[in-house]
């Protein structure tokens, strides 16, 4: 029973892949059928995923799974002197990812039906294609979490990158009046190019690992002797192979998870349809980076304090950096995008300080509440758009931004289900007791504090632990502030536009996933309370082969109260500024007192402009220079060679034309003459043929007799 399901783990990515193929190849025209195929594909994956999760759960209560999890080998490719073994595995980390990935995907798939306006006049013309893409994406994510080697991991990683590109640019024909505003097409390209930088580093890291260990499987690379070898041989003086490879792999994770300095693509990825934002840019793909670091955690441990400090600092810095930007954004989805970047920073920081279980816990919890928030915001946008259409019937007028929170207000009355579920998600995000985010975020802060107070089991310096704790705590304050701002601006006060006044509640296929996810966002945290930490219990089982004492911070009432107080303070601030006195004019009240700082935050510290100046401009200049060089110099040479060739050919042709003609004509003449001669033998008279045959036989007979 157990072996049966574990051996079938490869079916997980296959179901959505089949759905993708079916929709693309056959059912593209039938929208309803395509929807159902996509649902069934991910639904089967969900059922199988949770069965496997349940079996793993049983296993760690009874018998411990084999070291490195249960392996299913699929292929072995001869690669020089070694065999490149590819396959899948089931271990506790995989199982925990399976708790989140297929279920959140299923909810988003269901939500997409309503969001893409199924059954109305406004149904998206590429409706079926959307379901095909998200199915392929689900295949990528499921394949990633069950891979047991870097090769298939990279393959599925890139499938997700491709889907991300396709889905961000899904409305590729959209353009805006404002030329500065990024279009979906450009956003998709930006996401793809930015993550590519990280992917190249990651590929380099994997290849170096392969060159050092001769294997690509996690089980063998993360074995004690291999790690010992990596940690004690040096790539450069002062930097071991383990550190180098860990940092290169971190590069890939930073790109995928939109960490500083490769964070710029994620906010612009909001140009895609909202289910995509929820699916890719909140729940699954961006957490793939965190998953990769968690999966390679033994390597980071072997990399020592250098590797872990970088992880912790990048994470903590990103957490606070992104949350400050989120304070000054007016686009409801962009606020969530920066919030996502910031929360992913939490996870990286947690991994950096060695709080492995807490990071994975937060990863799962975050996926649930952030997909809830994103889909809630999508529902709000959808409602406001419909309200806008309702008011301005028929005639198109000046551009109206349905994403702008300044155009909303008072929506809780108009959209109660969306509103209340959004508030649940917001409470979970800000870590209010007893919602899910409280437990996971508190665990990270508690671990950081614990590390600082009691020395560390992981190798990074206690002073750094304190810095991480401080940055994360401030980020928590800002998180509560901008989330509160978002909730008050969107759902409370009075409607600031007619569109918001007439916004209808979304359909059932959009609100039911919200309600289900809200239940998880509220209660899932109870599985990871400090007293009965099931997450830690599950992940901790893996630690024994990580050769790392995975500790578990005891419940620290002070830290918990501090973080709760911080969150409360943030909400209070948001209420004082945005909630107490509802906005009347559409200007942020913070704009005036903060002045230039606000502009700086609103423009995301001008990072886009900076990158434009120092990377894109020089790259374009270089490209143009190369093009000019190509056109002026290379083309001239090529044309000259061509002209010379033609001239030489003409000359040569004239010179040797008589010879060639003579040869060609001669061949023709000889053939004709031979044909005329042979023609005489074909008399058409059957007796002649018979005579020839008889004479030939006689001659052969004579030959045979003479030669004995």
């Amino acid at each position: 029973m157990r072996e049966l399901f574990f051996n079938l783990v490869w079916l997980l990515p296959l179901f959505p892949l089949l759905a993708f193929a079916l929709i693309v190849l056959w059912t593209n025209r039938n929208r309803l059928l395509s929807t159902w195929i996509a649902w069934i594909g991910i639904g089967l994956a969900w059922i199988l995923g949770w069965i496997i999760l349940g079996l793993t759960w049983q296993d760690i209560h009874g018998l411990v799974p084999p070291e490195g999890g249960y392996q299913v080998w699929m292929y072995a490719i001869p690669a020089g002197s070694t065999m490149l073994k590819l396959g899948f595995q089931v271990d506790t980390l995989t199982s925990i990812m399976l708790l989140m990935v297929p279920f959140v995907c299923l909810m988003i798939f269901i939500y997409s039906k309503g969001y893409m306006n199924y059954g109305t006049d406004e149904v998206d013309p590429l409706y079926s294609r959307f379901f095909a893409y998200i199915s392929l994406f689900a295949c990528g994510m499921l394949g990633l979490v069950i891979s047991n080697n870097f090769v298939t991991l990279l393959i599925f990683w890139e499938i997700m990158g491709l889907c991300s590109y396709l889905l961000i640019g899904f409305w590729f024909d959209k353009s805006y009046a404002d030329p500065k505003r990024i279009t979906p097409k450009e956003a998709g390209l930006k996401a793809f190019m930015t993550t590519r930088i990280g992917d190249v580093l990651m590929l380099a890291g994997m290849l170096l690992l392969y060159s050092q260990t001769g294997t690509m499987t996690f089980q063998e690379i993360f074995s004690a002797e291999s790690l010992h070898h990596l940690a004690n041989t040096y790539a450069f003086p002062g930097m071991s192979w383990a550190t180098l490879c860990a940092l290169l792999i971190l590069g890939g994770a930073v790109g995928k998870s939109a960490q500083f300095p490769l964070h710029v693509w994620l906010p612009d990825a909001m140009e895609g349809p909202t289910p995509v934002s929820a699916l890719i840019h909140a729940a699954t793909m961006v957490s793939a980076g965190v998953y990769l670091v968690a999966r390679s955690f033994p390597l980071f441990l072997a990399g020592g304090s250098e590797a872990l400090s970088v992880v912790a600092l990048i994470g903590a810095f990103t957490a606070i950096f992104a949350s400050t930007i989120a304070v000054a954004q007016n686009d409801i989805k962009r606020v969530l995008a920066f919030s996502t970047i910031s929360q992913l920073g939490y996870m990286f920081a947690a991994l950096g300080i060695g709080a492995y279980a807490a990071a994975v816990f937060h990863l799962i919890i975050h996926a649930y509440f952030k997909s809830l928030l994103f889909m809630g915001s999508g529902s709000v946008i959808h409602g406001v758009e419909h309200g806008h259409h309702h008011v301005h019937h028929g005639h198109e007028e000046e551009e109206f931004d349905a994403n702008d929170m300044m155009n909303m207000g008072g929506l809780l009355k108009r959209m109660p289900r969306t509103g209340w579920t959004f508030i649940v998600g917001a409470l979970a995000l800000t870590g209010i007791f007893p919602f899910a985010g409280f437990w996971s975020k508190d665990e990270i802060l508690a671990e950081a504090w614990n590390e600082f107070m009691h020395g560390s089991s992981a190798a990074i310096a206690p002073s750094l632990d304190f810095v991480v704790w401080l940055l994360l705590a401030i980020a928590a304050l800002l998180t509560a502030f901008y989330t509160g701002r978002q909730v008050f601006l969107t759902f409370f006060g009075k409607p600031r536009t007619e569109a918001a006044e007439h916004a209808p509640e979304s359909t059932g296929s959009m609100t039911w996933p919200l309600i289900i996810l809200a239940v998880f966002a509220a209660f899932l945290g109870l599985s990871g309370t400090p007293w009965a930490n099931q997450f830690f219990f599950m992940i901790g089982e893996e630690a024994h082969f990580l050769d790392f004492h995975l500790h578990h911070a005891d419940f620290n009432a002070t830290v918990a109260l501090i973080s709760l107080g911080i969150a409360g303070l943030g909400w209070l601030g948001a209420w004082l500024i945005y909630g107490r006195k509802p906005l009347t004019e559409m200007v942020d009240p913070l704009r005036k007192p903060l002045g230039p700082v606000y502009t700086l935050l609103e423009n995301k510290y001008y990072f886009d402009e900076l990158y434009h100046l120092i990377i894109i401009r020089p790259a374009l200049w270089l490209g143009n220079a190369c093009a000019r060089f190509d056109r002026r110099v290379i083309d001239a040479i090529v044309n000259a060679v061509g002209r010379f060739g033609r001239w030489a050919a003409n000359w040569l042709g004239k010179a040797i034309e008589p010879i060639i003609d003579a040869v060609v004509n001669g061949a023709g003449k000889v053939t004709t003459a031979f044909g005329e001669f042979m023609r005489a033998t074909q008399t058409g008279n059957v007796q002649n043929y018979l005579l020839v045959a008889a004479v030939t036989v006689l001659l052969l007979l004579a030959l045979f007799l003479i030669r004995g």
């Binding site: 074909q682 008399t683 058409g684 008279n685 059957v686 007796q687 018979l690 005579l691 008889a694």
Partner: protein, 105 residues
């Protein structure tokens, strides 16, 4: 006294030569066919003679079977040949084989 094998072979060779000569020299298509039949029958004589002198003692029937197959084939060949000649005759009112050279134009 038994007839030696070589006599049979001589008869068969003579018959074959007569048949070949007929097939090559006669202008009448039916006569050509008759020549071909003679050649086939001379082969039958050879087959039977060799069978009788070499194989029969071992209780084998292969020579006789072979000869019967040849006779069958000869019958089929004669039927097809005559049918062709009749068809040609109906179209061209001749059975002269030297006139049957339409394939070469």
């Amino acid at each position: 006294m038994q007839v030696p094998l070589s006599w049979y072979l001589v008869v068969a060779a003579a018959l074959f030569c007569i048949g070949l000569y007929g097939a090559l020299s006669r202008r009448n298509a039916i006569a050509v066919l008759m020549g071909v039949e003679l050649m086939l029958n001379s082969v039958n004589i050879n087959l039977l003679a060799f069978w009788r002198y070499v194989e029969a003692a071992r209780g084998s029937l292969s020579g006789q079977v072979f000869a019967i197959v040849v006779i069958t084939v000869a019958a089929a060949e004669a039927a097809v040949g005559l049918a062709l000649i009749i068809a040609v005759y109906r179209n061209r009112h001749t059975v002269d084989i030297e006139d049957m050279d339409l394939m070469k134009l």
